[in-house]
Symmetry: C2
Subunit: 445 residues, 2 copies
């Protein structure tokens, strides 16, 4: 029987980061990573395989990142918590002192007719499957993306870059509606339409229709969208079967229940990433934000806590995300106005827009718009959105630090910022600062 100090089940973003952290924090400990796949994908890069990168080969997570952790290609089929062992599909039994579950998630498949037709794809993190999808897209003329969240929007944009006629069908009022407020969603939708993507919101899919060959997507209100390929981008389901079979508790958002130290209901078992339950930074309540960046952060917590379980505490998920559709980037940190209102916050909003270079005549200058969401009672920043050029992603990270640090509108109005003509807005109109100033005049004095 093989034995390791740390066994990690799963070797995508969370599993790899946990192995790196474990080796860094506890260099004398033996770490084994067990995953099904010889090679895994950079998860966020998956949409970009289709058009921008052009091949799956360009989106492989380098195995060298694992350093001197041992990698075993196999599938863990059960956990014996008494014996502290895992059993694999190939029949191996491996003993652990500490176990980390990083089993990820799988695509949600909606209950409707036609999802089993050929050329209907979900977004699986599997090399061969994605190669098949890419091949199908190369043969196609019309593609329908069901689900206009950021993964769906990114797939639509990539299919458009491949020269396909693309239709997005979204159930909610807007694309990206779970990530952004309406005005920011509309900017993304406008951009999608500008580059030729057909966008249909408040639109429920009833069935995918075809006879042997895929034909069209049928929606309510009599709408039909011709499709040679359908991509279902409707979110993910955490992979928790291994954990629940072993008797570990599952949370209300369907992830493996963990505490603030990423420890499950078994003190020797951690869970991280898409398979683990998440808690909201602002409310402490379960939330369903599943992102590679969140997974990586949880892995760094679990990896450090393995043998000193109180070393790093998870204060909850702020939720920071960025996307780019055509030439327009959107970055979001924390709560949207809509989400915060639904949670019962009394809000003060500040907005500002200005060129992202200065003077505005600098080549490549783009408008960057920032919206800040403050809790009226504390004046603290609880959310922010940015839309503009390539800096919008790091702008979201500026906002995330301000949120994490509990910065108030006044703190942000006095934020220390550096500026440069080719890199940022002018100091006189730096959007985050000016949005805070706009909020301040609406706050009680």
């Amino acid at each position: 029987m093989k034995q390791a100090d740390v066994v990690i089940v799963g070797g995508s973003a969370a599993g790899i980061e946990a192995a790196i952290t474990a080796r860094k924090q506890y260099p004398s400990k033996k770490v084994i990573v067990i995953r099904r796949e010889e090679r895994t994908l950079v998860p966020c890069g998956i949409p970009y395989i289709m058009g921008t990168l052009g091949s799956v080969e360009k989106d492989i997570l380098p195995v060298a990142m694992l350093g001197n952790a041992e990698l075993i290609i196999d599938e863990v089929t059960s956990i014996d918590r008494e014996a502290k062992t895992v059993t694999t599909a190939k029949g191996e039994i491996i003993g652990y002192d500490k176990l980390i579950l990083a089993t990820g998630s799988r695509p949600l498949v909606p209950r409707m007719p036609g999802t089993d037709l050929s050329n209907v794809f979900t977004i699986r993190k599997e090399i061969e499957y994605l190669e098949k999808l890419q091949e199908a897209l190369k043969q196609a003329k019309d593609v329908v993306v069901v689900g206009g969240g950021f993964i769906g929007a990114e797939f639509a944009d990539e299919c458009r870059k491949m020269g396909l006629r693309v239709t997005v069908v979204e159930l909610l009022e807007h694309c990206l509606y779970l990530n952004c407020d309406e005005d920011f969603c509309i900017r993304v939708e406008d951009k999608m339409r500008e580059v030729g993507v057909q966008v249909n919101t408040t639109c429920r899919v009833k069935a995918i229709v075809g006879d042997q060959k895929l034909d069209y997507v049928e929606c309510e209100k009599g709408l039909h969208f011709k499709a040679d390929v359908v991509i279902l981008a409707l979110g993910v389901v955490p992979n928790t079967e291994l954990a629940s079979d072993a008797g570990l508790e599952i949370g209300e958002q369907k992830g493996i229940l963990v505490d603030q130290y990423m420890i499950t209901s078994d003190p020797d078992i951690f869970a991280i990433g898409d398979c683990a339950e998440k808690f909201c930074f602002f409310t402490g309540k379960p939330t369903a934000v599943r992102l590679a960046s969140v997974a990586s952060r949880e892995a760094r917590i679990a990896g450090a806590n393995l043998f000193q379980p109180r070393r790093r505490r998870n204060q909850g998920t702020i939720g920071v995300f960025a996307t780019m559709i055509a030439d327009t980037s959107t970055g979001v940190a924390g709560l949207t106005e809509r989400a915060a209102t639904n949670l019962g916050f009394d809000l003060v909003i500040g907005e500002a827009a200005a060129p992202d270079r200065h003077p505005g005549s600098m080549p490549g200058a783009r408008e960057l718009r920032v919206k800040l969401i403050f809790d009226r009672s504390t004046a603290k920043l609880i959310g922010g959105e940015a839309c503009g050029g390539v800096t919008a992603g790091e702008i979201a990270n500026v906002l995330a630090q301000a949120i994490a640090a509990g910065m108030t509108a006044n703190d942000i109005a006095l934020a220390h910022v550096g500026t440069h003509p080719a890199l940022t807005a002018s100091p006189l109109v730096y959007q985050i600062v000016n949005a805070a100033e706009e909020a301040i005049i609406k706050l009680p004095r």
Copy 2:
């Protein structure tokens, strides 16, 4: 006699931002801005007039920013603090309740022979003067930039873009040596050399030589550099004559002395921007960081404090700066390793480099290198440097928020960050986080 609630002397970045803030915070108050120039320049844009923008006209600060503050084109020649009036060159007397001095700075002219030769320029914020400089550059073949700080480096890069042969002469060991640590300076110098700029460091200029026509720059150790134009980029001297003539105290860094509320030794007079003394965020001691972004921040403090003088407090200058030479950007926040060591800090350093997009095969991906400087005794971040593509400027702003919030290495290792293939590094190698992880393993447990 004219009378206003607020009189602001100077209408560049600081003066304009003070007027905007005063009008926003105290909408019923009458604000007058008095400045010499009908039109002023975007100060940070000045180097870019030469090559990138191509004309002074593209670098004008829009006067509309002043909103409904009154603008008077005139020069204030004296302050009567008893009568609470200012007198102008045109003989006007204007009464104030609160006075803000935003008189800026002027270029330092070194004491050496030849600085008065024609075609020897400093970097004055004056439209006609800069037009003359640009005209001279258009006629030139060889230009020598004396001073390799970031303004000198930016001018050198712009002259290079105009097709000139450019030589930079810097007294210190490296260009940008007051802003960055050696390794980051060397990256910038390498880039300058790569694009054809001749860089001479540890090189003292003895004289500028010419007989009627400018001929060459003479340095120690027998070095001569041919020059049709010389640009002196050696820093600035605060304009404090008006203040000192009125009996206001001057600080040891030669700025008008102010307290944390931007109030001078006269409780009704504020001073902001380049003319005002600065204090270091880390030590509370006088410092000489003069940047438009710092000026703008001080203006927002003074503007808010005008009639409620304790509304906003200046906790000192962190110093956040960014520059771009050719295609390489550098962003810095807080103390360099060298500066912190000189101030007596015991340091722990963490560094990380990775592509700024992910996977690294994404088009446009560049290496972004980050160095973090932590105070060993508190594990708090006190400085950071970034070098890479266009996001390095906002990366410096992420670092600045972390510094301002007192984030420790562990806080930064657990920073909430958003990532996207086209916009940021991978979550597994996000440079700021990984540099913190590198530092943590060197910190006492």
